[in-house]
């Protein structure tokens, strides 16, 4: 059933998209939320379920791919995504009927709302990650053998490219190189597929889940109550409430073409004496408690300020801070053998399999 998104929903979506980004600076989300709220005045924004489309309707993912320049340093000027959708339509000779998010967190969790307002296309409450991953090949559509191409890109300078490619792994290599040369980020449209394919292989309820998370975190209630409500909604567990004792950059070598270099944070749970080790590369990939794997990608891990119940940004973390380390299970597709092949710690250069690998 379609719903009309309100300005209040956008406010909560902003919070939810930040919560699921696991510690990345949220400024780009804030900038987009503000743009959307202004653009919504007098214009309806429709959120639909994939079931509302005809099975063969053409749908396409929209999202930013970055490799360098911060989106917050050069926000899109406004014509990029429309250009990408037109390029996909020209390439396939068909009209796009609806758009969906490339990811269900961070800026890509909110971008489709602006694109929906600009294009008057409905926004589908689905995505191919159920969270955010750094690589465009790390999608449930890839697990389902849905072609990633053609991919349309438009960069900071207005330069464009269309990549005719089928393999998501090859697409990752080609797109990442192009994005660097396009200036550091590119607006993209990719994974053009039928509504049926998205229904079969996508993750559903992505945007409405972020809104619900935001409603909880934005509520005027205690931190403990918020944690309880998050547990009810997402099955969230608190791994520990711990104090940061050490922060280190370049904590391990990386040569996998992944954006950003790794870093790590050590914390101490002062009530139990347990030592917690977070391994980070864009997101928190691994949580070790006294040396034992307690959470590992594709699990989502995020940090909350233990006093305020607000999401903690990695840039703001200082030795001495006390944070709640939260674990959220990813979409079920990620715990299959094919899903773990794409996203478990080994895919990020950490020689550890996911604890659920043996059950996959």
């Amino acid at each position: 059933m379609s719903t009309l998104i309100t300005a209040e929903d956008v406010r909560h979506l902003r919070t939810g998209a930040h919560f699921l980004t696991c510690t990345i600076d949220p400024t780009a989300i804030y900038i987009y939320a503000e743009m959307i709220q202004r653009a919504m005045e007098g214009r309806p924004l429709e959120l639909i379920t994939v079931d509302e489309l005809a099975a063969e309707d053409l749908v396409v993912a929209v999202g930013m791919v970055t490799q360098g320049l911060f989106i917050a340093d050069m926000p899109p000027v406004g014509d990029e995504f429309l250009g990408c959708i037109r390029a996909i339509e020209a390439s396939l000779g068909r009209s796009v009927r609806a758009i969906y998010s490339l990811a269900a967190a961070n800026i890509n969790g909110i971008v489709p709302l602006m694109v929906g307002l600009q294009s008057s296309l409905p926004v589908i409450d689905s995505d191919p990650m159920g969270r955010v991953f750094p690589l465009i090949s790390q999608t449930t559509l890839n697990i389902g053998n849905v072609a990633i191409g053609p991919i349309a890109l438009m960069g900071v300078t207005g330069e464009r490219a269309v990549v005719e490619v089928e393999s998501p792994q090859r697409a990752e290599t080609l797109v990442r190189a192009l994005v660097t040369e396009l200036g550091g980020w590119a607006a993209t449209a990719m994974y053009p597929c039928s509504a049926r394919q998205l229904k079969e292989h996508g993750v559903h309820g992505s945007i409405s889940r972020m809104i619900r998370i935001g409603q909880i975190l934005d509520a005027n209630t205690t931190v403990e109550r918020k944690l309880l409500m998050l547990t009810e909604l997402l099955g969230t567990t608190r791994i520990a409430r711990a104090r940061v004792s050490h922060i280190e950059s370049l904590s391990r070598p990386t040569d996998l073409g992944l954006p950003a270099q790794p870093s790590s944070i050590m914390l101490e749970d002062e009530s139990t004496g347990r030592i917690i080790h977070l391994e980070i590369q864009n997101e928190i990939l691994l949580v070790l408690v006294d040396g034992a794997v307690t959470a590992a990608v594709p699990d989502m891990v995020t940090l909350l300020n233990s006093e305020q119940g607000t999401v903690v940004n990695i840039d703001d973390i200082q030795v001495g801070d006390v944070v709640d380390i939260m674990k959220i299970e990813a979409a079920a597709q990620w715990y299959t053998a094919a899903g773990l092949d794409l996203t478990e710690p080994r895919a990020f250069g950490i020689p550890i399999g996911h604890p659920r690998r043996r059950h996959a």
């Binding site: 400024t27 602006m114 900071v156 922060i247 280190e248 990386t254 954006p259 006093e307």
Partner: protein, 439 residues
């Protein structure tokens, strides 16, 4: 002895500190004008303490905040202008009315410092007479990627100054933030405050020279440090929110806790901060909800809550700074400092000279990272010495490396703070411990 001084309206409030001891409690002078109040306050101190006063640090934040912002022309450099109104940069309501004209110039750099587009200087030069023909004498210039290369900002600034050397220009690369709108907002606000900064610097300089010709005059900064008065005319924005930082530093100084927790109880509520290396723990931006942040290193002050974790092994001070103290403090807090002290003035008197290095570096591995971090520490040390600190009394307070999520793999942000005292202050406030970590 050192003087902490706060200006507001047509009044001047002072305190005198000798080491960590208050030798003259807070006094306030009201006059018919700010220069008169300042002259009167300093004259009284000269009569009482003579040449014993070696340093004077003024908190000018209240004056900067109360004056009307000057008009500013905002020049924004990026590869392309916004295609619609929704994608335009939005300024906080405080400064938005100050911008009388916005000019877009094609240009900008990526994070590796490579041009995204050639700077369209010719077109800008053609428009320049029209831009300078207006009444605005203040300009703010912000370029995409100026954290990696400030070339386009400085070329536009040079072009303006070649036509009119009296224009006040603030460029965004003087303020570190990876967010365009933060640098844009900060450069605009700084530019709008420069005239007041110049005036305050002149007034303080004149009164200081007359009453204490041998003393070093400084202004208090948002990070709890100070800088020579000459910097006030160039970067007044760093003095706009000094008072909370000075209150943290003052309370910590009086309690003697260079490493610890500072709880400030004011009429506006209870907040908590930390001191590290003798200075307030600082963040590189002042956040303002979801609007643009001010790109100025500033003390971190968080609301105190009932969930605040209490650490028995950690030094802590509770300062009751309320106007009236007849009711008990919330959260069953018990003040540990005498309530009569003006902690922020004590902080101003105690503030050391501070300098920051905050920049992007390209590294190829751990050894390279170590090299660029060492170089940044040397640069921060040199910057503090250039402000007037003695090399032997200058220390690195914080040295951090930050990973850049979804950035180029080899690019890191290096952020270092150095602090020091002048030769005149043998009894400095800072311990020699170096806090160094990477993140």
């Amino acid at each position: 002895m050192r003087v902490g001084l706060r200006l507001e309206g047509t009044s001047c409030r002072t305190v005198v500190l000798d080491g960590r001891t208050i030798v003259s409690p807070a006094r306030e002078v009201h006059a018919s004008s700010l220069p008169e109040a300042l002259e009167s306050a300093l004259s009284a101190l000269r009569r009482e303490f003579g040449s014993g006063i070696t340093e004077i640090t003024a908190d000018v934040g209240r004056v900067l905040a109360e004056r009307k912002l000057a008009s500013v022309v905002a020049i924004r450099i990026s590869p392309r202008p916004p295609a619609d109104a929704f994608h335009d940069t939005v300024l906080p309501p405080l400064v938005e009315p100050a911008v009388t004209r916005t000019v877009h110039v094609a240009g900008g750099h990526d994070l590796r410092g490579r041009p995204l587009a050639p700077l369209n200087l010719q077109s800008f030069l053609a428009d320049l007479p029209g831009i300078l023909a207006g009444s605005a004498r203040n300009v703010a210039i912000t370029s995409v990627g100026s954290t990696a290369s400030k070339e386009h900002e400085t070329r536009i600034a040079d072009a303006i100054l070649s036509n009119d050397k009296d224009v006040r220009i603030s460029i965004s690369s003087d303020f570190y933030s990876s967010v365009f709108r933060d640098r844009d907002y900060t450069a605009i606000l700084n530019s709008a405050l420069m005239e007041t900064g110049e005036e305050l610097a002149a007034v303080l300089e004149e009164a200081g020279r007359r009453q204490f010709p041998a003393s070093l005059l400084s202004f208090g900064k948002n990070d709890g440090g100070r800088a020579p008065l000459s910097r006030l005319a160039m970067a007044p924005v760093h003095g706009l929110h000094a008072e909370p930082a000075m209150a943290i530093l003052g309370a910590a100084t009086l309690a003697g806790i260079p490493e610890g927790e500072v709880i400030l109880c004011t009429d506006g509520g209870v907040t908590v901060a930390h001191t590290r290396g003798g200075l307030p723990a600082a963040r590189s931006v002042i956040r303002q909800g979801f609007a643009a942040s001010l790109a100025s290193n500033a003390a971190i002050l968080e609301p105190y809550t009932v969930h605040h974790p209490v650490r028995g092994d950690f030094p802590s001070v509770v300062a009751d700074l309320r106007e009236r103290q007849d009711e008990a403090l919330p959260f069953e807090l018990v003040p540990t400092l005498p309530s009569s002290h003006d902690a922020a003035l004590v902080g101003s008197a105690a503030a050391p000279l501070t300098a920051w290095i905050d920049r992007l570096e390209t590294v190829s591995g751990r050894a390279d990272l170590q090299r660029v971090q060492n170089r940044a520490e040397e640069d921060a040390h040199s910057a503090a010495v250039q402000l007037g600190a003695s090399p032997g009394q200058t220390h690195i307070v914080e040295s951090n490396v930050y990973a850049m999520p979804y950035g180029n793999p080899g690019i890191v942000r290096i952020r270092v703070q150095a602090a020091g005292e002048t030769h005149a202050n043998e009894e400095h406030m800072l311990p020699t411990a170096v806090l160094r970590s990477t993140s």
